[in-house]
Amino acid sequence: MALALLRPRLMPSAVALALLLVACSGVARGQDTERIEGSAGDVLEDDPVGRLKVYVYELPTKYNKKMVAKDSRCLSHMFAAEIFMHRFLVSSAIRTLNPEEADWFYTPVYTTCDLTPWGHPLPFKSPRIMRSAIQFISSHWPYWNRTEGADHFFVVPHDFGACFHYQEEKAIERGILPLLRRATLVQTFGQKDHVCLKEGSINIPPYAPPQKMKTHLVPPETPRSIFVYFRGLFYDTANDPEGGYYARGARASVWENFKNNPLFDISTDHPPTYYEDMQRSIFCLCPLGWAPWSPRLVEAVVFGCIPVIIADDIVLPFADAIPWDEIGVFVAEDDVPKLDTILTSIPMEVILRKQRLLANPSMKQAMLFPQPAQPGDAFHQILNGLARKLPHDKGVHLNPGQKVLNWTQGPVGDLKPW
């Protein structure tokens, strides 16, 4: 009799438990995306508001607006992050108008907006422009001299960052502009133990137009039928006719080894379906060019194609927030002839996990500079990076009268006023 009484009472709870299990499995079977955690923890979705305050210097328009007005191509090339960062900061909640309470100071100087008729930025005047801007802020506000720039940050998205040259040897020879020795640099260039990557720099993705990419999205159920995809130059016949210089010979090696391989859809044409094709590929090659970084990485991440990074010692964007070795495949330049073996011997679970990580919308959002800014985008990641560097350590504030920077250091040409 007791059993008879128990059974009806057990039944609803058993049914409830069964329903709960079914619901859980139903939820789990849905979109499988994994949370992305870098070395700094699960910080991709952090909100920087309230964690730091940034003061934006008001520079004369010749440093910023006038340059854009002269050539509006600055707003769409891959170096446009400096312009959009300024616009974002000016209207953001972390901006403060009171410099006494600011943690970081931002100088809006567009050093990559002097374009040739073909649209390539010339870095020759950039050191002078930067120097002139720093002279302006140090003479009009006391905050630069207080710390000699240690709590200031600058956005330098050029090929080799603050070395201000497009040729690597010349950039190494110049080194980072001496006046920026203590400042934090926000740049796209990143290579380990390289002269042009300062300790404590924040690495960002290059600008890729988010609207344009969004208009080329195909339905996600389109089956991925291309194994490896790449479109771009293999030989830069204009600047390096013999080969071996451009991309350290890695791109030429990709071509010579895999031009006959049907699994590799590689060529130099620029088809109108470039974005759609990336969405139909499993692996997208991101080899170095004249500089190790390229917008291909951003495109690959946005389109869910696993990036195959062929650039020795490269430092990828937001490396502390995004665990790149779990997301991309890194191939040494020496191993390029074995690329097909490497890619086909990656275990299936690893490939599927990479795709799951790439499918995470916060990952895609972190690579983009949308207008207007959205939570979790690259602007916010930069601010999070700056916030993680707080609080400033004691060496930041100098004793009054103490001078560390040498204002006359550097090539003579840089000292000319701008």
Partner: protein
Amino acid sequence: MMKSLLPQSQLRRAAAAGRSSGGGAASGGADGAGSDGGAGGRAPAASTFWFLLHALCCLVSLFLGFRFSRLLFFLLFSTSELYSTSSSSSAVLRATTTTTTTTTTTTTTTNTFTLSFAATSNPPPSTLANHTALDSAAAGTSGHTQSHVVVGRHGIRIRPWPHPDPVEVMRAHRIMERVQEEQRRWYGVKEPRQVLVVTPTYSRAFQALHLTGLLHSLRNVPYPLTWIVVEAGGTTNATASLLARSGLTIVHIPFPDRMPHDWADRHATENRMRLHSLRVIRERKMDGVIVFADDSNVHSMELFDEVQKVQWMGAVSVGILAHTGAADQPRLSEEDKQNMPLPVQGPACNSSGQLAGWHTFNSLPFTGKTATVVGEAAPVLPRGLEWAGFVLNSRMLWKEAEGKPDWVKDLDAVGENGEEVENPLILLNDPSSVEPLGNCGKKVLLWWLRVEARADSKFPQGWVIEPPLEVVVPAKRTPWPETTAEHSSELLNTKQDQEDRRLSRTNRSSRSRSTTKRKGGVQGQEN
């Protein structure tokens, strides 16, 4: 000053090259050239020296596969001096750059890998010199460790057999398949429902043809499937064996009546057979999406993906293939041809994507010329709305189902009084609640076709020739058994006409060919 130091540098360089590239001959040559050249002031000797050096570099380049620059000789010796003073080094460099055409570097090295014979790549000792140079440079700016990525000209690494390996290609394909499967799991249908395919059939000559085609289509459906085959005239072993070989889950249901020979009657019988199968589905409480697949129809795979979206009852667009099969086509006037609507049956939507009406096949151009008897050589047309264009959720038929809408009639109330069950809309009280599928009927997902032999056509039992044929029948004339006199004579007459016309055509052509041929005596047996 540089020239005097040349022979020493050459010796060093040659030794290094010898160690790294493994080309002993080249290094020996370099050695000889170096020592011979010497740092003489003698002009002719100097010019021959430079010529020899240039020739040597060309040979070495050929050997190595990339450009082996003369400049390397200079720069290698001068690296130790270069970085001590930054300004003087740039001056030195600018002097030397004039000799070469391409942009030169401050820290060039040669990484001699590329080639087939280089089994192990020993990093050339020159890089050590380089490292020290860079170190001194780096020390000036910051005291960090040295990057092992070297700037400058590198060799292009090509493996000896740059062609795909078949094992790897297979692995890549397996990876792609697995990735696509995973994609389907994520973005495709979330909870794939079972597909219940209802097919009325009966034993006749073309049955094997039609069922085999349908069988292969169903085997490719990526969802769990149950094939409900209703056979008129009771289940036969032939049909059962065909179905058993398919590997699908089969429900073979006998239907007592035989299939009539008249198209109109056959249509009605098929409808009753389908209704019978719906009753079976209801009895067995089978759960899934019901697709009406007639055995002669052709289905696309997208149909099965699309029907997963149906809630209660959906309609898809069906392409109607009314083939004539006779020599004379229905004579259509130009006006008729222009007004000929699309041979599609399906839902028609208004601008907001809701069902507004039905698009049916226009049979006016075919009036009077359609086939009445199965196997007749005339177009077979659908009547009204074909069942093939509708899909049902089986729960709609159940006596009690959660959320069953009230515009669905109870199955028992349908077809009870022997009324004609024309199309599935009869199952509904309110035909406007049908969901249009396939992008509102824009995509034609299946094709309706009726192709049959004459009802009395003979075919081998089970398509096994047993006993072996004794009479060898010439391919041209297949003896048709005589059934009813009128039909047979009609058919024979039309057949004769066809034959004659064909023969006359070939005769005409052979005659024309023989008249055009100048060469005599070539009267080919063109037949």
